[in-house]
Symmetry: D3
Subunit: 298 residues, 6 copies
């Protein structure tokens, strides 16, 4: 006798009864596995010679690169088309005329055309990380062992697709790297070059955040919203961080109208909900802690 | 000559000498790999149509579901039996009469009977997340890209096994999702429906926590214990959060007698060790920070 | 027509143009995949009987151990040699005489000779965790489900290689476990026995930190630097934590001259930049928070 | 410069130019990989307890069997539907009314209903092999190490699908086992119970062959056609072998009207193109070979 | 104690003592695994749309083809270079000037330029098979289920590399398909278009065989040498088969001066060591077999 | 509704009804997959430097060899123990005293002690193949591309285990290589050094065959039995082939008292059931074939 017969019946029939978590019979969604795989492929294109088990000499690099681009393009087109179809069906996006497949092909083509430019900016991010962390012994160490670099690299990719109004995939990308690094940057955030996140666990950067050049942030920093009303979803809800700002660990900066002026330094654990002028140092006042002899416990 | 001959001898003989980290010759423990695999299988049963590379039409859904249930049941029985045997040997649990295998079969059978109910509650969690985050563009996005949903889904599974006094497996489950999301919910915690964690990194929810309905918490929130004495392990050591409470990022709420009253809001970085009445707003007083012009460094 | 022809050309030629993120044609670097694999192998050597799907009886344990040691040694030699070659080429390290391969073989041999000692210390760490957490039901649970144990185990391995001046690999190891646990311990940190990290997400322990015996820390604790100038990279920049200290969640302790005296307790969210005498309790003063009735939102 | 640019262009355009070996853009064909996988699954259903790494006790056998049936059914439905669609498009078969998917579901359902009967016949084949080969030490050896049993097992499966007029899949099955065993039985052949092929390499059994019960054949036996004209494809072109016949190695029996009468024995290397009466022994006459002293070569 | 300590020592030291089967420390040889993998890749390029799990529409076919060519080229270059290096070291081949890598690149480039021509010839082979076998129901069946087609496809590839004097790889290719089909065609054999092998098990075609157009052979046919003296290795040792010849199962044709004239038919099991004029039928005389009543065994 | 519910019930209940092909609930049998895997491992130990993707320098060869031996020993012990347990239960073998595990350990230990000797003999087989085939261009080609070498290598391994009265595994080994090469050598056959099989498809060598040194055989040769009565299973049923004999393709030699004398040559397709004196040439007389002009078919 099949011990699970009744449970299977109940489960299968529940697949018709509750709307929110059922997608059976709906259009295919992009696969998390596939998106993670695509990110690995793009990573190898961004950092040639860093991820391979074997050194690719220059002679074969052209061939290897062509293969990688074509392979990644094939996978990317497939997932991009699924995302667009999903969006069309929900009426949030119209592929019009030539259809989702053609639009997917165009977006993917534009992405690869953009890759050299993304590499240029990432090389500045690597330089900023090496310069900004006394513990970094080589630029190669930054590329192979800094979660902050991984996070910003994936963000620059995800942001490209976000800028094309592609649904789901950019957020899946940011969630994959959030899972690996503890750094949660919404793909909508706009971030300038030479950006460095140290350690990074617990960092949150909201959807409408604007970050200038040469900004450095530490673990646990939140650039968040004051309002969490769904009706204000289209407003700028997250802060603006101007060039050359440093934000130390655990600081919280909230609000769409909050601007941290150029060259300012926000100290650890500071809480900011109003704008800070340029070249300002904000820090927690001392004197809010007490020391006393510790009672020994038995 | 074998360069490692001596090290192998030393290592092998150390396997007899220190008790705590040796398990050679002991009963099999549940495998982390297997438990992670089981969670992936259950996830696919909970969210049909979301994880597949290909769309399963309704015609084949019944067959696919039956296969999944049987496969997952086989794996789950195996690991459950190992957990029970471990517990029996340690005298912490008695399978009695029919033995560990029969008890494992009964628990697994009950789990699949419970699954439709778990799905019902998770659909409320998804709705709460969509409603609670202005950045969420669709309910599908919540299912494919919200770590908070992953954490609560795994918790609801782990909590079922915890409620059956099954050792090890519930904690292994919660640790797997902690590793992926940075959200650490002890499987003993009791959590009501429509629960939403945003961003989530750094969240800690202790073993004896009680959480009502429609509660929303942000990254870095700790619901912890004041006492960490082993002798108090059986007491309620973690707080109670009543319905409709919101707790912002970085807040810390400690103690088994601490209750946050219905409808209250706990602000970011707030530190609470005593109960808060219903419909209360708790926030960090301003004025504890200083601004001054930044000295330029050479 | 090849839609990607131009992008491939641009990408391939960019591989010659920007220095920082190109490694094509350079010496092989250790592979992240391979280092992760090595850590899994060492983990199985450290915790015999915990990770296997099947119980290894004592009769076959010697054979299984010999196989594991040889396999791990092979992989480790390969990656170690790559690291040393990288270092030699950059002039930061000189393998001299017999060359990188011989030095790699010597380091790997020493590592396996050290393993029984590392196991001895880890068994004390397990005991400390079991004793320190009321929620821990068995020592086996600590081994299979505590991220803090995983973090300290990897740290003790990474620190060994760090002490041999091996570049890249120690940092890759610490980053791998940081990604999995949210605990970021620099391999340079010196940590005494019976060390316990609970929950762990967001913990940062800097390169020159010194930690004594029986120290316990919670999630979100930072042991960091005050100065982040590259020119001071060789100084002691991170604090000293003496024996028997406990540091609660979210506390921040900064500076190379900051010492937390033996037996002291640092409370949650406390901010410390100066030394604390032995047997002292440091905590956030109450009175810095306000409660008021919550305005209901429409 | 892409060294393969021109070859890719030529190849891609050749994909439009030659009809016979192009299938791009056509309906999906059953995948060889998938069919091989299905055969492995069915094999495990036919021979429970023989192929598993671990012994399945009776308690879990029902669950394991249910899982296997559902998994195999899923795969089989998919490939069967592809085969039927291919056939429909070519006008060689009409799925009519409910379409290819429904017909696929019906065939697959009938196949699983037939499996117990196929098992019954295979158990007689195993008994015949054990009885017929003095070298066989146990019936278990027959199941794990006799290619003749593998061939007849796959044939009985393939023949079922052939009898349902399913195109491609039966031939793919027979070719897979031909590749593994060197035994080439056309799925159209009708073969009675207690059939045994020893050694088997080089055996060929044609499409319209009829074989009775208790027949035994050896390696290199051909049961073939005299005519190879396409226009006679629908005729019976291959011989009839009645019950209790033995055919030794290398014998060739040709022609649709050739019948080997009940109980006859065909000797090694014999060539038969006309019927042989019952209980007859056919053998090569001696005297057609010469012996002479061998000349030694330098 | 390590039970295998002595055996390992003996084995390792034997690796220095016997020349023929040691290759440790020698140049890398092409890997059987890699060559098999390359054959699979080329197969997918030759038969687009036949091997894929999913149908590739024409829009993506160009991209998929480019990816396949680049991937296959990468692998092929690697193995080809190893083969050339092996040959150079043994003095049997000189890569001269630019070295083995450049020569490998040139050979691989020429191979892909030749692929469309190979496809053209294979389409004629498929047509010949379909026409020649009454049991073939469709040309698609020939492509997915005829071992003779697999053998001739691999032969045409292997023969290309043979014609470039590449060592090892062509023979490894012919052996791989020999293992799968039982058809052993030496890569040196020259075979015209519209070639068909039916069933195929046991077919042997020697190194210096010449085969014209429209030739059809059956299982067990040998086209072999009379002399097996190593000193005659450079002579033509195997027969010539002119256009439109059919050779039935088990026939043996030997000798470098033996020619089967155009349009002749060689019957089953016939033994030929001298030339046969055009349009001749050769067959085994009847009368060499005896029938007698079979004695019943108890 | 579960379409397969009834079939699953019928199948599961049939698992109790027919004896021969049921093994559910019985002792584990050696796994075909595992035995194939073991053969791959032993092959790599026999032919160091031939199978690796990367060249193992002498420095690391000792380590790699130790690892391989231990890994292979672990797998071999497991499967050997299963075979012995199976045998014990059937009463065909008694492990006595220390039990099956201890006996398995002893057999495996003896096997590795024998390996260097097996390598010595195989190096003679390689030399014989290179000398015996004019088409062989190098000894390396023999090792990487001659199925005859693969067959004899596996036979020498299987024969070792046969000589220890181990059931099932030797036959599984011989069947695996039979499937790959078409060469079927029973593990009981005794074969001298410098043995060479060319092409090999269709070769059958029976259980009690005795073969001397420097013997060479071609494809399709059968060394078989005259009697196939089960009651004579313990007799010598297969021929004796003395030193320096050559047997050409398709020859059949039958009978336990048939001896081919030293230095004799058996021609192609010859049928031998009586002994042949030393230095004799046996060949098919000419004149048994007819030629006539071929009738053209319309």
């Amino acid at each position: 006798m099949d011990a699970f017969y009744r449970s299977i019946e109940a489960l299968t029939s529940s697949y018709g009864a509750y709307g929110l978590i059922n997608h059976a019979g709906g259009p295919n969604l992009p696969s998390q596995e596939a998106v993670a795989d695509i990110l690995r492929d793009i990573d190898a294109l961004l950092f040639p010679g860093f991820r391979e088990e074997e050194s690719a000499d220059e002679g074969s690099l052209a061939n290897v690169t062509a293969e990688r681009v074509h392979r990644t393009a094939r996978k990317l087109m497939r997932e991009t088309e699924k995302s667009l179809s999903f969006s069309c069906r929900n009426g949030r996006f119209a592929c019009e005329g030539a259809g989702c497949r053609d639009l997917a092909a165009r977006i993917v083509k534009e992405f690869f055309a953009e890759l050299p430019q993304i590499r240029r900016i990432l090389s500045l991010d690597v330089a900023a990380a090496f310069k900004g962390d006394p513990a970094a012994k080589s630029v190669e160490e930054v590329v192979v062992a800094y979660p902050g670099l991984e996070a910003i690299a994936v963000h620059r990719i995800a942001h490209f697709f976000w800028s094309k109004d592609l649904p789901l995939i950019p957020r899946m990308m940011s969630e994959i790297v959030h899972g690996r690094t503890g750094i949660d940057i919404h793909p909508g955030a706009t971030i300038g070059e030479s950006f460095f996140i140290d350690h990074g666990t617990g960092v949150v950067v909201g959807e409408t955040t604007l970050i200038g050049r040469n900004v450095k942030i530490y673990q646990g920093v939140t650039l968040g919203a004051l309002s969490v009303r769904k009706s204000e979803a289209d407003n700028k809800r997250h802060p603006t961080i101007e060039d050359d700002v440093t934000i130390y660990a655990g600081a919280t900066i909230l609000g769409g109208e909050t601007t941290i002026g150029r060259g300012s330094v926000i100290g650890g654990n500071v809480w900011v909900t109003e704008s800070v002028p340029p070249d300002t140092l904000v820090y927690v006042k001392s004197g809010d802690q007490e020391l006393k002899p510790r009672e020994k416990r038995g």
